[in-house]
């Protein structure tokens, strides 16, 4: 609303402002299914190629075509790549939202818009650049049917001139987008140039935003979290992948499928060294994964909230029957079907104790593509070492958006396959008790079906059992068994990745967060210091269960804010459960759950408010 008023207040045309270099946000407003994706990625890439820290976030509707979509690109010389709340530079292509998008802008922002929209009539305190897209596209693209798709990339040319993006980099990025389709690439490249020429001839640069070459992306890659996690699974040697399509996790399974077809076909026979099955639903996909894990495969599934709920019964079986399986949960906004194309951290609590009865499950929580890759691999080791379901908790922002990253490192050492007894072992041991805790770590030895030995067979069940896997209703057998499972969870605690802790000796206030909250927290810490002289420490949780470092971190501060991208402070809830109760009062909460990636300003404002600054 307030923005509306800003609009009504007639203001003088803006002065020529101080130049703002490599530190602003661009928002491209289009409709989905209009091929704007290419134009936006080319934009992103060319900035990246110029060595400027950059991030892109796609805000798309839960539908296939024709609804409003916003793509925001942020450049930041300091390397802050979380979402920026304010838009500095708008590219308005969508009649449906153009007016509102313009009204929401802060004063002095710049607007590139499609001529018919007449946005310059909406406000007087902005920098407007009017582009006759339809007119410009005609000469480039005689075929009218294709114009819809080529039209958009013209704004890349316009922006190139306005922001000082090197055309050559745009060209490079563009041809990278069409590796196999040179004609399409040429067509688009022509469109880019037309936009550039038009801008050069007819626009007067008035806004302060510019880019300049830097050296901050040297050797980096650009990748989505889902692709990274898929690569993790690939290099973990996954053999059985069973899944059911659901946004935002589908692309994880689909990318993995592509990579498997490229790199996991047996060279001699040309046959597959993996099995990927699109199951009939999530109950079947987890059931297959559990069956495969039981039989000795490195098995996984990928899903999102609704799938997690459906998998609940099977996860309880996996926990109790002690079966290794990896579940990638790419979190979207729930409850229920909720907002399938919006991000959240709303499944933490549910996954940590999924299923009825007393259950606890390890969670890995990556914050970056690199961690998606590493944890994507580690999850399989942990699942097999612990003989239990392990969750990798991504979110839509991390999974489906493009991120800068250092290249991934090739894993060292052998796959950790856990305590599996072979026929030879059984010969040596002369006895096999499936659920006997020989090592005292709560983890017992298992055999795989097909092991050629009279002692190998055992009976796997979700019902009460004794150390020999025989059915038992004896209270003592029951208690011994689930106490051991609790012990196993303590073993897991020590194997989980440790938090990343940055203690500021001067800080009385600490921040704790996980996953994609990281970027907002990082930037917020600087804001808190620069704007309010508030020193903060920061601990980023990478897994559940937590180890003592989290308690120590809380202990050494007066107040700790746990940042959650959910309503019910789920991460804080998990932390509270595991720290000494005396620390409880120090643990405060900062929550955002609007479905957009959390931004630094929101964190800062909330903390400032709670701190009474």
């Amino acid at each position: 609303m307030s923005s509306v008023e800003t609009a009504l207040v007639g203001e003088a045309a803006p002065e020529a402002d101080e130049p703002v270099v490599n530190d602003f946000s661009i928002q491209v407003a289009t409709v989905n299914g209009s091929g704007s994706q290419t134009a936006n990625l080319v934009l992103l890439r060319s900035l990246f190629q110029m060595g400027i820290p950059v991030s892109g976030k796609n805000l798309f509707p839960s539908n296939i075509a024709g609804l409003p979509t916003w793509y925001t690109i942020r450049t930041n010389k300091k390397g802050y790549i979380g979402r920026k709340k304010e838009i500095d530079f708008l590219v308005a292509m969508n009649p449906e939202t153009a007016r509102e998008d313009t009204l929401d802008l802060p004063p002095r922002a710049a607007v590139v818009y499609d001529l018919p929209l007449k946005l310059d009539a909406v406000r007087t305190d902005l920098h407007f650049y009017q582009i006759p897209f339809d007119e410009l596209v005609k000469p480039v693209c005689p075929d009218a049917k294709l114009r819809r798709l080529v039209r958009n990339i013209i704004y890349d040319g316009v922006l190139a001139w306005l922001l000082g993006i090197e055309l050559e980099e745009i060209r490079k990025a563009l041809f990278k987008q069409f590796p196999t389709k040179p004609k399409a690439a040429e067509l688009n490249w022509a469109a880019v140039r037309v936009g550039y020429e038009f801008a050069k001839e007819s626009l007067v640069k008035a806004d302060p935003y510019r880019v300049e070459r830097m050296n901050a992306t040297q050797g980096k890659i650009i990748i989505e979290g889902n692709t990274s996690a898929a690569l993790g699974a690939l290099f973990a040697g996954v053999t059985v992948v069973t899944w059911y399509p659901i946004t935002p996790s589908s692309s994880l399974a689909e990318t993995l499928t592509d990579y498997c077809h490229r790199y996991r076909m047996d060279p001699e026979t040309g046959k597959a060294t993996f099995a990927i099955v699109q199951a009939e639903d999530e109950i079947a996909s987890i059931g297959m994964a559990v069956g495969a894990g039981w039989a000795g495969a490195r098995a996984m599934t990928a899903t999102a909230g609704p799938g997690i709920s459906l998998m609940s019964e099977f996860i309880g079986l996996g926990y109790f029957a002690e079966i290794p399986v990896v579940i990638f949960d790419v979190q979207r906004m729930g409850p229920s079907t909720g907002l399938p194309t919006r991000t959240s951290q709303g499944d933490l609590l549910n996954c940590a104790t999924l299923s009825h009865g007393d259950t606890k499950h390890p969670l890995l929580i990556p914050s970056s593509p690199e961690e998606c890759f590493q944890m994507g691999m580690q999850a399989f080791d942990l699942a097999e070492q612990l003989q239990t379901p392990v969750f990798v908790m991504l979110d839509l922002d991390l999974g489906m958006n493009y991120w800068m990253s250092d290249p991934f490192e090739y894993p060292e050492g052998p796959l950790k396959r856990g305590k599996v007894l072979t026929a030879e072992d059984l010969d040596r041991l002369r006895a096999f008790h499936r659920y006997q805790d020989i090592d005292g770590d709560g983890i017992c030895h298992r055999t795989l079906p097909g092991t050629e030995h009279r002692l190998a067979a055992y009976f796997t069940r979700g019902t009460g059992h004794n150390q020999n896997a025989q059915y038992s209703e004896r209270p003592s057998d029951w208690v011994r068994n689930i106490d051991r499972l609790a012990r196993k969870f303590e073993t897991a605690r020590a194997m989980m990745p440790r938090p990343v802790v940055d203690v500021n000796e001067k800080a009385a206030v600490g921040l704790i967060g996980c996953g994609t909250s990281h970027y907002a927290i990082q930037e917020s810490r600087q804001q808190l210091f620069e704007e309010h002289k508030l020193n903060t420490s920061y601990a980023r949780v990478k897994a559940y269960p937590f180890n003592s470092e989290i308690a120590d971190f809380i202990d050494r501060h007066d107040r700790v804010y746990v940042v959650d991208q959910n309503r019910d402070a789920q991460l804080r809830e998990l932390i509270r459960r595991e720290i000494p109760a005396r620390l409880g009062p120090k643990v405060l909460s900062m929550r955002y759950y609007g479905g957009l990636p959390i931004d630094a300003r929101t964190v800062t404002d909330d903390v400032v408010h709670q701190e009474g600054l």
Binding site: I221, T273, A275, V290, W294, Y410, G450, A457, T460
Partner: protein
């Protein structure tokens, strides 16, 4: 364990072609009710696997939840077993077979486990034609939860308390054929010979062998008024054929009095032979259309219980073949086969830079 299994002394010495004793194919002493049809089925399974000389270490037994689903504890003690959750044995079996295609999978389930809660997974399993034996111990009720109607209960059949079932039964055989199973038969726990032959044929088959076995629940569904009682089934059963089985390692002997043309010899995937001897009309088990016809007529007929081998397709690709997996079980692949080399990661990183 041996202490809890009681093998008839007579058999002790018997050895099969892979040198194992009958004893080795037994399981724990049953905890099911005395007289339960499921127990007879367990006996046939033991005999079939023993006589076929299947290596029990290469067999996996899977089940859902129910009295029927408990029975894997009572046979094949040398085989790995997985008693999963209610109605989901199909997915667990699928996963296990994806992981290790060299295993022989035997799934045992109940009518409730399959046709009620399990309908979805059952349908998709049949459609995939996963290589496995899928055996339904069908008593028309939920035994383990004290006898409520299941979805195979016939119209007009009654519970012990008199409640009458009005919903038409689901014909698991007709469904299986329509959905894609490549071997489909129905038998009766009380017919040792027919059931044994059919289980052996299922062992010999490559693809989904769906066997629906009428298996009376003596405690909750064996009363008059029930159409799944021993007496009812004995009175109303009609056999499609006389079913004989000759394993690939034996000679075929047709007994004298079979007149020519009256017996169909069907060669199975492993070279064994199924001998189907005509009773009333001749049925070609490869005729899918006709098989469905028969079952449809039966359903509309007056409570006749038709048993026999309805459908068999030897050629149909099974699911694992469709997926084009390497011959070696995936679980046996070494790290060098499943983790691509460093060069691959480098190549991918290059593309993404």
């Amino acid at each position: 364990m041996s202490s809890t299994t009681a093998a008839p002394p007579a058999r002790r010495k018997k050895i099969n072609r892979i040198g194992l004793e009958f004893q080795d194919y037994r399981g724990l002493k049953t905890t099911l009710c005395a007289g339960c049809g499921h127990n007879s089925i367990s006996e046939r399974i033991i005999e079939a696997f023993f006589e076929m000389g299947v290596d029990p270490s290469q067999v996996i037994k899977l089940s859902g939840i129910g009295c029927s689903s408990k029975s894997p504890a009572y046979f094949l003690q040398l085989s790995h077993a997985f008693n999963a959750v209610h109605g989901r044995m199909p997915s667990v079996t699928t996963g296990a077979m994806l992981a290790n295609r060299s295993l022989k999978a035997l799934g045992v389930t109940g009518d409730g486990d399959t046709v009620s809660i399990g309908m979805g997974q059952f349908a998709h399993l049949m459609r995939r034609n996963l290589p496995m034996i899928y055996l339904i111990e069908d008593n028309g009720c939920y035994g383990l939860t004290k006898g409520q109607f299941s979805a195979t209960a016939d119209v007009g059949s009654t519970l012990k308390n008199g409640t009458v079932n009005e919903l038409a039964p689901v014909d698991t055989c007709a469904l299986a054929i329509q959905l894609g199973a490549s071997f489909v038969a129905r038998s009766f726990s009380g017919d040792k010979k027919q059931l044994l032959s059919i289980v052996k044929a299922a062992i010999a088959h490559n693809g989904t062998s769906m066997i629906d076995v009428i298996s009376p629940c003596v405690t909750f569904n064996d009363h008059r008024g029930s159409t799944k009682s021993y007496s009812y089934v004995r009175e109303h059963r009609s056999n499609l054929q006389t079913v004989d089985f000759v394993p690939f390692f034996d000679e075929i002997h047709l007994d004298g009095e079979t007149e020519p043309g009256s017996v169909r010899e069907v060669t199975l995937h492993d070279g064994s032979t199924l001998l189907l001897k005509r009773i009333d009309t001749d049925h070609d088990p490869s005729d899918r259309r006709r098989a469905l016809q028969l079952l449809l007529d039966e359903a509309s007929g007056e409570g006749r219980v038709l048993t026999g081998v309805f459908y068999l397709d030897n050629e149909k690709k099974n699911f694992l073949e469709m997926l084009g997996l390497v011959d070696q079980p995936l679980v046996h692949l070494g790290q060098e086969q499943v983790r691509p080399p460093e060069s691959v990661l480098a190549e991918i990183m290059e593309e993404l830079s």
